[in-house]
C-alpha cells in the first residue's frame, strides 16, 4: 500500500470521526450540567433522536461546501452521494421524534394543527420545519421526474434547508428544556448561525467573488497527446498569485453559482500580467469540449490549491520531476518558474509516455533545457525503431540508473505526477530504494 493511500485512509477515518463528534455533540451538551430532571425513557429517546437528526441536517451544509480537504480522501462523488443518503437517515430520525411522542400519548396529535388557537408556537415551528424538510427531500430525490430545472432547484434547496434548520432551532428554543441555561442557548444559536453562514459563504459569497473576477479565453492550442493548451487572461483584475505546480478549478459554459467546476494544473509559470495557461488532456465530457472554446469566452477560475510546488521546498540541492502523460503539466509550470529565476541547480526530469506522440509539451521541454541545468530522460512504452532513449515503464532499475548517486536526506526533492498505477509503482520503488518519504511529493488527480 502506498504512502499516499495510507494517508488518504487516515484522512478518511479522521473525517468520519469528526462527523460523528459533531453529530453527537448536542447529546453531549444536553448531558452536561446543569441538566434538567429526567423524564420517561421514550420521551428522552425521542428528544435525543430529534437533536441528532437536527445536527445531521446542519452538517449537510458543510458536506456540499467546497472544502477540498474533506473531499480529497474520498472523491467528491462519494461525498455528494453520502450527503444524499445521510439526509434520508436524518429525516427518518426527525420523523421518529414526534411519532414516538404521539404513540405514547405524551402529546396529542392535535398539536400538529398549526392553526388551532391553543397550539403552542413551539409546535408550529416544528411543523413548519418538518414541512420544509419534506419539501426539500421530495425535490431532491425526485428532481428529474418533477422536471425542476437544476439552477432553480439549487436555489430552493438552499432556501428550504436554511428554513428547516432555522425553524427547528426556534422549536428547540421554544421547548426550552435542554437549552435551559444561557450558555447552552448561546452555543445552540452559534451552532446554527455557523452552518447557515457556511452555506451563504460557499453558495453565494464565493461564486459572487468568482463572478467579479472573470477570465477570458485568449486562445486554445493543440498539443501532443490529445491535449489542448488553454490560455486565459484576467478581465479588469490583477489575477491570482499561485505557486508553480498548483492547480485551480475551472468553470466554463456555466455560472459559478452552478457547481460544475473541474480541477486542472497550471502549465505555465506565474505571469506578471496575471495570464494563466492550463494544458488539458481529452479524458471526459468537459475536457473534450476544451477545443471548442472561443477567444473572448468567459471562464471562472477558483484557486490556487495544492501543496505540490517547488516553492514549498526552496532550499533543495536540486529537483527531480517524475511525470507520466499529462502529469507533465505541473512539472512544466515549475520548470518555467525555475528558468524565469535563472536557476542554476541541477535538475532531472523523467518523463514517461505511451509513445512519442503522447509526450505532451515535449518541444517546450526541449527549449527549457537550453535555459536550465536540466537533464531529461524520456521513457516510451512503444518506441519508434530509431529511438535512443529508455523504453518500458518507469521502474526501480530505471530510477537507479537515472537518479543522481548523491541523494541524501533533503538534498533532492522529488515530485511525482501521473496516472495512478505509475505513481504507485514509482512511490514503491523509491521507498524500496531508501529514499526518505519526506523527500518525495505526489499529486493525484483522481479526486473528482
Amino acid at each position: 500500500m502506498s504512502m499516499q493511500r495510507t494517508k488518504q485512509i487516515i484522512q478518511g477515518i479522521f473525517w468520519i470521526l469528526v462527523y460523528l463528534l459533531l453529530t453527537l455533540l448536542p447529546v453531549v451538551v444536553m448531558f452536561l450540567p446543569p441538566r434538567p430532571p429526567g423524564r420517561e425513557f421514550v420521551r428522552e429517546f425521542s428528544v435525543a433522536l430529534g437533536f441528532v437528526g437536527m445536527a445531521m441536517m446542519a452538517i449537510q451544509f458543510a458536506l456540499t461546501a467546497r472544502f477540498r480537504a474533506i473531499k480529497a480522501p474520498y472523491g467528491a462523488d462519494v461525498v455528494y452521494f453520502f450527503h444524499r443518503q445521510v439526509s434520508i437517515l436524518a429525516f427518518l430520525l426527525i420523523l421518529i421524534h414526534p411519532i414516538l411522542l404521539f404513540v405514547t400519548s405524551i402529546h396529542p396529535v392535535s398539536i400538529l394543527n398549526m392553526f388551532a388557537p391553543d397550539t403552542p408556537w413551539r409546535a408550529r415551528f416544528a411543523v413548519t420545519a418538518t414541512l420544509a424538510m419534506a419539501a426539500l427531500m421530495v425535490m431532491a430525490l425526485w428532481r428529474k421526474p418533477l422536471k425542476i430545472e437544476y439552477t432553480r432547484w439549487r436555489i430552493w434547496h438552499g432556501i428550504l434547508a436554511s428554513a428547516a434548520v432555522a425553524f427547528a432551532m426556534l422549536h428547540i428554543l421554544g421547548v426550552n428544556w435542554y437549552v435551559n441555561t444561557p450558555w447552552k442557548q448561546v452555543l445552540w444559536g452559534l451552532y446554527s448561525i455557523f452552518w447557515v453562514g457556511l452555506l451563504f459563504y460557499t453558495r453565494v459569497f464565493k461564486p459572487f467573488m468568482l463572478l467579479r473576477k472573470p477570465y477570458e479565453v485568449l486562445k486554445v492550442e493543440a498539443e501532443r497527446g490529445n491535449s489542448w493548451s488553454l490560455y486565459l487572461k484576467p478581465i479588469r483584475h490583477a489575477g491570482m498569485q499561485f505557486q508553480p505546480g498548483q492547480f485551480a478549478w475551472i468553470t466554463a459554459w456555466d455560472s459559478p453559482f452552478k457547481d460544475s467546476e473541474h480541477p486542472f494544473s497550471f502549465s505555465a509559470a506565474p505571469a506578471s500580467d496575471g495570464s494563466l495557461r492550463f494544458t488539458i488532456k481529452e479524458l471526459g465530457d468537459f475536457t473534450r469540449r476544451i477545443k471548442e472554446m472561443q477567444p473572448g469566452q468567459r471562464v471562472y477560475v477558483d484557486g490556487p490549491f495544492g501543496a505540490f510546488s517547488i516553492d514549498r521546498h526552496p532550499h533543495a540541492f536540486g529537483y527531480v520531476f517524475i511525470a507520466g502523460g499529462v502529469g507533465i503539466t505541473p512539472m512544466v509550470s515549475m520548470l518555467h518558474s525555475l528558468a524565469q529565476h535563472g536557476d542554476t541547480r541541477p535538475h532531472l526530469l523523467i518523463y514517461g509516455g505511451k509513445d512519442l506522440q503522447s509526450l505532451t509539451l515535449r518541444e517546450e521541454i526541449e527549449q527549457l533545457k537550453a535555459r536550465l541545468n536540466l537533464r531529461v530522460v524520456e521513457v516510451l512504452e512503444k518506441a519508434p525503431a530509431d529511438w535512443q532513449g529508455e523504453t518500458g515503464f518507469i521502474n526501480r532499475a530505471l530510477l537507479e540508473r537515472a537518479l543522481p548517486a548523491e541523494r541524501g536526506k533533503n538534498r533532492m526533492e522529488i515530485f511525482i505526477c501521473g496516472p495512478k498505477p505509475m505513481m504507485d509503482a514509482v512511490e514503491a520503488a523509491l521507498a524500496a530504494m531508501g529514499v526518505f518519504a519526506g523527500d518525495f511529493h505526489s499529486e493525484r488527480f483522481d479526486l473528482v
Binding site: L20, M30, F31, F41, V47, A48, Y74
Partner: protein, 32 residues
C-alpha cells in the same frame, strides 16, 4: 462500488447515533 462506501457509512453512522440516543435516554431517564 464507490456509492457503496456512502451507503455503508450511512448505515454505520445511523447505527452509532441510535445507540448513543438509547444510551442517553437510559441514563437520563434513570432506567440505567
Amino acid at each position: 462500488m464507490r456509492n457503496r462506501i456512502a451507503i455503508g457509512l450511512t448505515i454505520l453512522i445511523g447505527f452509532i447515533v441510535v445507540l448513543a440516543a438509547l444510551l442517553f435516554a437510559a441514563l437520563q431517564s434513570g432506567l440505567w
